[in-house]
Structures are given as C-alpha cells and as structure tokens.
C-alpha cells in the first residue's frame, strides 16, 4: 500500500499568528485517517493548507510529488478534493448544476459526468431535488450535496471537514457508511471530526490535534481505548465492547 499524502513539518500561519506548528501526517491509499481535536486546534487550517487555500511551510507530497507549487485547481485536477467546513455550495444554482460543476476539473475526459449516477444512487434525495436551488436545501441535504459534488471529481484523496456537523443521527450513520464504502472503492480519506467516537470507529489511523500540534497518534482502535482520549473526546465512558 503506497503513501498517498505525506506532510512533514507543516506549519500554517494567519498573518503573524501560527495556527499549525510543524505537524507530520501520512495517509495511505484506500485508508481512512482521522484528525480529532478540540475547537480551534487547527484542523480546518490543516485541511485548507493541504488543498492550497492557505500558504504553508514544510513539505506536502501527494502521490510522491511535491504539492507546494500547485494551485488549488491543479490539486483538484490531480484528485485531491476537499469538502470544506462551510460547504461553499453554489447557493443560487440548482442541485444538478452544483453536481455538474463538481466535475469541472474533469471536463476534458470523455466520462466526465460518469460519477453522476453513482452520486444519485448514493443520495436518492439529491436525485429527487435536481432542479431545486442549493440555497433552499435543508442542512442535511446540503451536506449530501457537498459530498456529492466532491465525488463528481472522482477523488483519489477526499478530505472531509466535519461531515456530520449538525446532522440527525440517522443521516450521520448514512454519511459514515458512505465513507466506509469509499474506502472499499480505494479512495484515501482524511476525516476531520468532532464526533470522535464515530470517526475512530470507521478510521484506520488517527491523530489527536491540540493547539496546532499532534498530541497523540496511533491506530484508531488503540486511540479508542486510550484513557486520555476516552476522557477528553469520548465523554469519559469506555465503549461497552472495546
């Protein structure tokens, strides 16, 4: 299994304030890596820097080549796709148009829209609402659209920033089963989550980010039974079946 994404000594600053301090992180092909941590730890900052929306110091390699000179658009075209915390949908455009634009980076390939049926199969709700404006979708539907739009780009590495944010438990389960399904299809996933329990259940490996530094890392099953993680992120109760 090859390393898909490798970050070394990655630092990210807002002006003169450094928010991420020299962290290192790996994601291999077809694996799920989760980053958990408290509010303001720097998780969103880490993803923004990886997609190229924020400048960073240190090295980021993707498929063995350095990302540092690539623009956001070039990274997307290379299969590195982000579902951002704020979703950034095209509010005044229809669901179908949002999805179509999701494949913009692949516009030159003959099967650019081939992911569409797959997305509609995964999210029948979106298929029912094709002609509805994105701005009028419910919160959960908006998350589905954000995820669907990202899948239209046929990502090799999908970065998800709190995909379960504000969702009903039933939909959270749906989203996590989709994430597991994507892994089976060979997509690498970098998952930032507040819902640490669900994230550690689905992930292979995990990092705990605190105040811009990696406080703990290890296989997800180890983290899930680590007393410190249980105390701080899993609400202090040991899972019944560990």
């Amino acid at each position: 299994m090859g390393i898909l994404l490798r970050a070394r000594r990655l630092s990210v600053s807002y002006g003169r304030v450094e928010a991420v301090h020299g962290i290192s992180l790996d994601v291999s092909d077809g694996s799920i890596v989760t980053v958990i941590g408290p509010n303001g730890a720097g998780k969103t900052t880490l993803l923004s820097a990886t997609i190229g929306l924020l400048p960073s110091r240190g090295d980021i390699d993707y498929e063995g080549a350095s990302l540092t000179t690539l623009t956001v658009e070039e990274r997307v075209a290379a299969g590195l796709v982000l579902v951002p915390e704020k979703r950034e949908l095209f509010a005044g455009m229809t669901v179908a148009e949002n999805l179509e634009l999701g494949a913009f980076a692949r516009r030159r390939s003959r099967d650019a829209m081939s992911a569409l049926n797959d997305v509609y199969r995964r999210f029948p709700r979106l298929a029912e609402r094709k002609t509805q404006l994105a701005a009028t979708l419910s919160g959960g539907e908006r998350q589905m659209l954000a995820l669907g739009r990202a899948l239209m780009a046929r990502p090799k590495l999908l970065m998800l920033d709190e995909p379960s944010l504000g969702l009903a438990p039933l939909i959270v389960r749906e989203i996590f089963s989709i994430i597991a399904g994507l892994k089976m299809a060979g997509v690498g996933i970098l998952l930032v989550e507040q819902n640490a329990r669900a994230a550690l259940q689905v992930a292979d490996y995990g990092y705990v980010l605190e105040t811009g530094e990696v406080a703990l890392e290890g296989p997800a099953s180890d983290l899930a039974t680590n007393p410190r993680v249980i105390d701080t992120y899993l609400g202090g109760s040991v899972p019944a079946s560990a």
């Binding site: 658009e73 997307v76 148009e97 634009l101």
Partner: protein, 345 residues
C-alpha cells in the same frame, strides 16, 4: 409634442437603450465574476467603432498595433511566471496562446483591411480583434492583483481607463469616425415611421442577449462563470481558477463592448475618448440593477436611453445632466432598500 414626435423619440431612445443595455450587462458580468468595476469598458466601445471605421476606409486600424503590443507584454508575463514556477516546458504553449493567437488576429485584420472585404466579414474581424483585447487587458492589469479589495481594483480601473484613452489617441488619432448605416430603409407601421436601422440595432442586441442567456444557462463554461460569481472559494474547490474565470469573462465582456461599438457607429461620431460618456450610461443602467441583477440592469439601460432621447428634445443642452442626475434618486432608493453585507462582494 405630438404623437409622431413622441414615437420617434421613443424609437431613438429604445435604439440607444438597447446598446446601453449590452454595456450594462457586460459591466454587471465583470463585476459579478471578478469584483472589478470596469471603468474602461467605454474604450472598448470606441475601439470597436474605430476599428470598423478603419477597415471601411481600407487602412489597417490602430487595433493591430495595440493587439500586438499587449500580446507581447502578456506573453512575457506568462513566460516569467512559468520560469518562476520552474515549469519552463509549459512556456511555449502559454506563449502560443497569449502572444500567438492575438497576433494571428492582428495579422488578419492588417492584411484584410485594404481588401475591402464584405461588410459582415469586416464586422466579424472587428469583433474578434476587440474581444481579444479583453483577456489581454485582464492578464496584464488585473490578474496580478485579482485578490485585492474592490476599492483597489476600482483605482486600477480608473488608471487603466486613462491609459487606454491615451493609447486610443496614439493609435487611432484624434479624428472622429462614423460608420455608414447598416440600412437606410424605413417603413410605415400604422402612422409611425420605423427605421430598419433601429430594428437591426435592437434585434442584434436582443439576439446577443439571447445567446448570452443560453451560454450562462446551458453551457459548462457559462455555469462556471456563474459559480465563480456566487462562490469564489467553492469555484476554486471544484477546479475553476479565478484567472480562468477572469480571462473568459473579459473575453465575453469585450465582445459585448465591441458589439456596442459596431452598433453605435452609425448613430454617433466616435472619437478615441468618446467611450467614457457611453459607458457611464451603461453604468447608470448597471447601478439601477445594483451591479448584480441582469434584468434590472438591462431595464435601467433602456430607461437611460429613453430619458436621454426625450431630454434632448426638451432641453438638448442639458441632456447629459438630466441623464446623470437620474442616478442620484436611484442610488438613494437603492441604499435605502438593499441590505448591506459585511463582505465586499
């Protein structure tokens, strides 16, 4: 004023309004996608008229030199960026695109000018030449500062406006030009005398607006521009780069301005510096639409055309004053009815 004069003024007003409407739509488009208040749009209108006039006189218009000059600057910028990013292999392709293509268009115009080709061919070449100036201008003046605030972009726009006016004087000379009417016929509709020329202008504007409607509503690239306008970050995350969107927008907008230049040529004598006043009228229309609404901008521009035509009948010396005074109540009304957002877009 009797009914036939009113009909005549209305016809004039709608004809001019249709041209201003194209301009207003171009201004809204540019602002929506790039946040640039495109002050120098009028220069593109003037270049359009002057280019066509030059071709009709059988002498190569100043557009040729302007295109070649800007293409060389843009090409050098592209090569510089390629070298700085360590991607020298990409330089030839970029050079071909940014310098080669505009130079081919310039060469075609230069070569065909003395041949006295059929009018539609001359119009097509004029449109191509002026439309090509749009992306070049974006590449040279705006792309390097695309992330700047609206105010900085506006200041640059004003500077670009003066520069392009100066270049207009240099390349086209100080004499004004007027192109012959497309058609001199007219016919009687009821007891109103209808000019075929006016019909052609209004029809062309309407057809172009229709084409744009299809472009933005149905094509992937049109949707990509709308996406950039509604959410810049979202657009980047699906792979639409701001510079790609800006370049395409300026091509479309410059083409619209070139159309305005071709349509206005038979109506008014155009000098190298006439564009500004024309574009201001487009701006009044665009501002009535709050710089965001396309239908309101077009309607506003029609209103400007009608107001201009009627005020030139009642008080011709004050016609511009009346048109531009209109903007004050409109701005007041808009500032009272629209909500202000913290973001500058």
């Amino acid at each position: 004023m009797d009914l036939s004069i009113a009909a005549l003024l209305t016809q004039d007003g709608i004809t001019n309004g249709a041209i201003y409407a194209l301009l207003a739509l171009a201004l809204v488009l540019v602002f929506a996608v790039t946040r640039i208040i495109w002050v120098p749009s009028g220069e593109f209108v003037a270049y359009g008229t002057l280019t066509l006039a030059g071709m009709q006189l059988g002498k190569p218009p100043g557009t040729v030199s302007l295109l070649v000059g800007m293409a060389i600057v843009a090409g050098l910028l592209e090569v510089y960026v390629c070298i700085r990013r360590g991607e020298i292999a990409r330089a030839p392709r970029r050079l071909l695109l940014w310098t080669g293509v505009p130079c081919v268009i310039a060469a075609l115009v230069w070569w065909s000018a003395p041949l006295n080709l059929p009018f539609p061919v001359q119009v097509a070449l004029t449109l191509a030449a002026v439309a090509a100036l749009g992306p070049l201008l974006y590449r040279i003046a705006y792309q390097p500062i695309a992330e700047a605030s609206v105010l900085v972009l506006l200041i640059v726009s004003v500077a670009v406006h003066f520069t392009l006016t100066g270049l207009g004087l240099w390349f086209f000379g100080a004499e004004g030009s007027r192109t012959p009417a497309f058609a001199s016929a007219s016919f009687q509709l009821g007891n109103v005398n209808v000019n075929v020329q006016s019909l052609l202008v209004v029809g062309t504007s309407a057809a172009l607006i229709g084409v744009l409607y299809v472009f933005f509503g149905r094509t992937l690239y049109g949707k990509a521009l709308r996406a950039t306008a509604v959410n810049r970050v979202g657009a980047r995350l699906v792979g639409i780069s701001p510079s790609f969107a800006g370049t395409l927008t300026f091509a479309v907008a410059a083409l619209m301005c070139a159309f305005c230049g071709v349509l206005i040529g038979p109506i008014t004598t155009i000098y190298y510096d006439s564009g500004f006043l024309v574009s201001l009228k487009g701006f009044v229309g665009a501002i009535i639409g709050g710089l965001v609404s396309y239908p309101l901008a077009a309607a506003g521009a029609l209103l400007v055309g009608l107001l201009e035509s009627f005020s030139s009948f009642w008080a011709s010396a004050f016609k511009e004053v009346i048109v531009f005074t209109l903007i004050i109540p409109v701005l007041l009304w808009r500032s009272l009815t629209t909500h202000h957002h913290e973001e500058d877009e």
